[in-house]
């Protein structure tokens, strides 16, 4: 399943769907890092609004994506974790420590715009 990656100025926006397999997630991890390099992006927003299950593999992959992108000197914001998904993640003991999160795409963009206005 192809995950659409949208370029919006200095940011990239990747929108995850519900039924992503491990292979899709691995593919996306490489794809995102490559796109960050290609477009010299400052930040990536990963929109997980449509994801109905965030298991150990999915959250580990998100953490890895964020760490790889940080090594490239860019930032990742995860947006749209649904309330029940957040509840399940806490029960499973899964964390996204060190990764920025925001309520939704709008908030994520606002956070990044603010951040890069200050540092630019």
């Amino acid at each position: 399943m192809e995950v659409p990656i949208l370029k919006q100025g200095a940011f990239l926006i990747a929108t995850f769907q519900a039924a992503l397999s491990d292979a899709d997630l691995n593919h996306l991890r490489m794809g995102l890092v490559q796109q960050v390099v290609k477009f010299r992006s400052r930040a990536v927003i990963v929109d997980v609004t449509a994801m109905d299950v965030m298991d150990s593999f999915a959250s580990r992959t998100l953490r890895e994506i964020a760490h790889m992108i940080r090594l490239r000197g860019a930032e990742t914001v995860i947006v749209g974790i649904q309330p029940e998904v957040a509840f399940a993640m806490v029960q499973l003991g899964l964390t996204l420590e060190g990764v920025a999160t925001a309520l939704d795409l709008e908030e994520g963009l606002a956070y990044l715009n603010e951040k890069f206005k200050v540092t630019n």
Binding site: A23, S56, P83, G93
Partner: protein, 134 residues
Amino acid sequence: MSAAEIRVEINSDQDIVVARQKGRILAGELGFSSGDATLIATAISELARNIVSYARTGEIKLKGIHGSSRVGILVIASDDGPGIIDIRQALRDGFSTSGSLGLGLPGVRRLMDEFEITSQPGKGTMVAVKKWRQ
């Protein structure tokens, strides 16, 4: 309603997605809230993932339980894989033999209401979990 058993063969990571989607649908049919259906689907995902990671192949069985006073869902994950030598250790948070997070089994236990595991080294593992509708 939903008396039949649903069986999902687990052979690849794609089947993990199929199993948890079928589990979510069954949970919905049994009247579970969407929040509980998410917990059930997440537990199924972890159980199916253990099969793929440790045993490569196995199956997930899903079944509605219609008791006299309550309704629930039963999920059985079974495989003929290497089995677990020390179950107590496998149920401890942070333990993993495959280099993964090692949160699978204790996490699944917290997501569901009842948890049962039997495993024989060299023969396989069976995990049966239940969740009751609130």
